[in-house]
């Protein structure tokens, strides 16, 4: 079979042919190593691109978010005349709560600049103070009715435009027509600054208030509580269901068409676009079952169905990683199948299951699209107190604020993103730590 090559001088052969080949290889080396370096460079570039984009995203958002954590305030001297608030002197709460604080605040603001007289200028002046000032004065009086008749200094927020001016986001060197703050307002603001009436303080409103149309009064507490209740429902529904399903599929299910169908189904469900789950929630939970719109309970159910496959898949692989020898040992002692699972397999698989659950919950926490479908986009000022109250969630709040035209909402959106990312990082880190802490090599 090893008859001579058709061409005795062909490249294949010992001696001469080998030496020729070696020479050819040597000649090709330079070109090939250049190609090698290029290829490797593409790889490095790809990784660098992805990492740079991540860095760009984080720096953009964090740098935009920083100003949101401070708020420009003004120390306003307010005279709480008794005849304005409570002419009869009853100190009745209802009377106190409904008094005309607006005019009190107006007077206090106009007192700052007695030289401002025209209606238009007065209006512009009053616009520099946030509408929240009125509520701040009211709350002060309600908390301490003894103050009536006194002259007090109240620290109230300034309007979002003045706040932006103070933070340098609205620039003074832009022509007046192109910015939202008038020249006069800037002049007044500078005079107030010189008087020492302006203070820049930590923006606690952002963490204690619900949503608001006024950026300076808007906070994430409502959305955060909404997220909390939604996640609670999701966890309570998806965790037990997923663990039970995973145990059955991994430990008991016979291998047949039906089990295969379930498996294929779970894998596919994990890849169904999230918005489709929103359509399901709208059609089934809201229209068919008549559950309340905008309620965390519905959002929680939808997200539970969505995270179910993630947790089932994670739980199954955790169960699979428990070595059969453990099961055999327990069976050998006469334990029933369920006892084997409950006493031995499940405790060993639990860290893995919990890790998967945390990751699934983190996904659900960041999910927006399906919640839009079930009405969790409503403008809701009140902080929800239960899973049935209308509420929104953090990512939806971000979406709503991102859509708002006010400049000051940009920084609040970024700040809300930082808070959301903070929660997500916390969850993921705890998942990683859990995995590290309990990781077992069998």
């Amino acid at each position: 079979m090893t008859d001579a090559a058709p061409n005795p001088n062909g490249a294949v052969g010992g001696g001469l042919a080998a030496r020729n080949a070696a020479e050819a290889v040597r000649r090709s080396l330079k070109r090939r190593y250049a190609a090698e370096r290029r290829f490797r460079m593409y790889g490095i570039l790809a990784v660098a691109f992805a990492v740079c984009m991540l860095g760009l995203l984080f720096t953009t958002i964090v740098s935009k978010a920083v100003p949101a954590f401070t708020q420009t305030m003004i120390n306003l001297e307010v005279t709480l005349h008794a005849q304005d608030i409570d002419p009869q002197g009853t100190r009745d709460r209802e009377t106190l709560a409904t008094a005309n604080y607006r005019s009190i605040v107006r007077r206090a603001v106009f007192d700052l600049f007695p030289d401002v007289t025209s209606r238009r200028d007065k209006r512009a002046l009053f616009d520099m103070i946030s509408p929240g000032a009125v509520f701040a004065v009211r709350d002060l009086v309600l908390a301490n009715p003894m103050l009536i008749g006194e002259r007090v200094t109240v620290r109230v927020p300034m309007s979002d435009d003045i706040d932006q001016l103070n933070k340098g986001a609205i620039r003074k060197d832009v022509p007046e027509a192109e910015r939202r703050v008038k020249d006069k307002q800037i002049a007044w603001f500078e005079r107030l600054e010189n008087r020492g009436a302006i203070e820049t303080v930590f923006n606690s409103t952002f963490f204690t208030a619900g949503d608001s149309r006024e950026p300076e009064l808007a906070g994430i507490r409502g959305a955060a509580m909404g997220s909390f209740f939604t996640m609670l429902v999701t966890l309570l529904v998806s965790f037990p269901l997923a663990v039970a399903a995973a145990i059955y599929l991994e430990e008991f299910a016979p291998v047949n068409k039906w089990t295969q169908t379930i498996e294929v189904n779970i894998n596919n469900l994990a890849a169904v676009p999230s918005i489709v789950f929103g359509l399901l929630g709208l059609a089934v939970f809201i229209n068919f079952l008549g559950m309340p719109r905008s309620a965390p309970v519905v959002g929680g159910l939808v997200l539970a169905l969505m995270t179910l496959p993630t947790i089932i898949i994670a739980a199954r692989s955790a169960l699979k990683s428990v070595p059969p020898s453990i099961r055999e040992a327990a069976y050998g002692l006469g334990a029933s199948p369920l006892q084997v699972i409950a006493h031995h397999v499940l405790p060993l698989a639990m860290p893995g299951i919990l890790t998967g659950t945390i990751i699934g919950m983190a996904q659900a926490l960041g999910e927006t699209a399906p919640l839009l479908m079930i009405g969790m986009v409503a403008f809701i000022v009140d902080v929800p107190h239960g899973a049935l109250d209308p509420a929104t969630v953090l990512p939806v709040q971000i979406y709503l604020w991102a859509d708002s035209p006010e400049r000051a909402f940009v920084e609040r959106t970024s700040a809300a993103i930082c808070v959301l990312l903070g929660f997500l990082i916390l969850m993921n880190v705890s998942a990683v730590l859990l995995r590290k802490r309990f990781e077992r090599k069998w």
Binding site: G43, I44, P273, L279, V284, I417
Partner: protein, 461 residues
Amino acid sequence: MSFPVLFGVLAVLTLFGFFLGRSRAMATAGGQIRNLHSLPNYYGYYIGLWCAVPGFLLLIGWMALETTVLDGMLVAHLPKRMTDVPGAELSLLLNDIKNLAHGDVTSRQVVDADLKDAAAFYGQLKVSSKMLLAALLVVLACGGILIARGRIAPELRARNSVERAAMAIMIICSTIAVLTTLGIILSLLFESLRFFEKVHPLDFVFGLEWSPQTALRKDQVGATGLFGAIPLLAGTLLISFIAMCVAAPVGLMAAIYMSEYAPARVRGTVKPLLEILAGIPTVVYGFFAALTVAPFFRDWGLEFGLTISSESALAAGVVMGIMIIPFVSSLSDDVMSAVPQSLREGSYGLGATKSETIKQVILPAALPGVVGSLLLAASRAIGETMIVVMAAGLAANLTANPFEAVTTVTVQIVTLLVGDQEFDSAKTLAAFALGLILFCVTLVLNIIALTIVNKYREQYD
């Protein structure tokens, strides 16, 4: 008595049943565990299950059906002149009655006696519904406890019964995934069929114009709206294509670098970084696209004399591409690591360089898996919602120009359904028909991708 309270009551009763069962079993066995068939705890579980399962089912069923039943009763109670109105107005009326009963403001200026009467009736209905539920729950739970207690005897095979019940519960749980899929298909199909009664399916699938604004009055121009899905599909494809143009090369090269070149230390840092990219909520990407990337492209276009819309398909696509890089890279990484070491050695043994080995041996060997991962990534791009909602346009342009604004299927679903819509209009139903298309397309992509990947895995296992 709200539902959480009732669940609490049920839990307390169940706990009581558990202890009762345990002590009862011990009592019948004369205090000797070895006289019992099962451990005493199992008798506890036995009673607990008899108490909890019927009660739980009752509560869930009531929760699901209460609103529907009460609404029906309310409508039946209302005088005919009030209910003889179109569906949308009726639902508004019901809403007002409920708000009134709840003590909230209503949408009407004047609240007449009829309405007040109805509200009072509804309030009463709700109260009696809850009373009835509470009574039924207690009866059912206690009845369960009594029946089960009567059966407890040393020879009762409590463990076997409890385990059978547990197995049944687990089997039911495992079907939830199938039920969810079924629910998705049925609700999408059902609503789509209603849509197709108003708009012909062929007009929908092959129509070239999309303007779903149904007018308020019948005589207005374009009162029926135009529901041609082609521009939406084209927009979706355009944006997904741009996304894949970013994600496929970057993800693939990143995967190659990570699996074949990177030293362990680099791999250890970069891999988690890429995973972070996958964990960022899409709404954040949307914000990033709208705030940073789109203006960047627009300004960049101005420099070169190009008109790039601030809602360009390019910006949305590029950001979406960044989002799916980690999907491509981690899946491809897995797939390439699965290529047997012997093939690498075979190639190195012939004197191939690393890149020659990768390009000519590993990639061809891993091709099915890589294709699968790209398909999965494409399906994710097609179904992605928030980035396009925030960064892509609303107007349905039929164009292949990436600098122009296009809209996508998901954007339209969101715009059609967000805001107060009556549920029966062609507009809202159209969203479900779009959802059906989206579901089918992604499902087919997923099935193909998963089949390819599984086949591939088997090949090297």
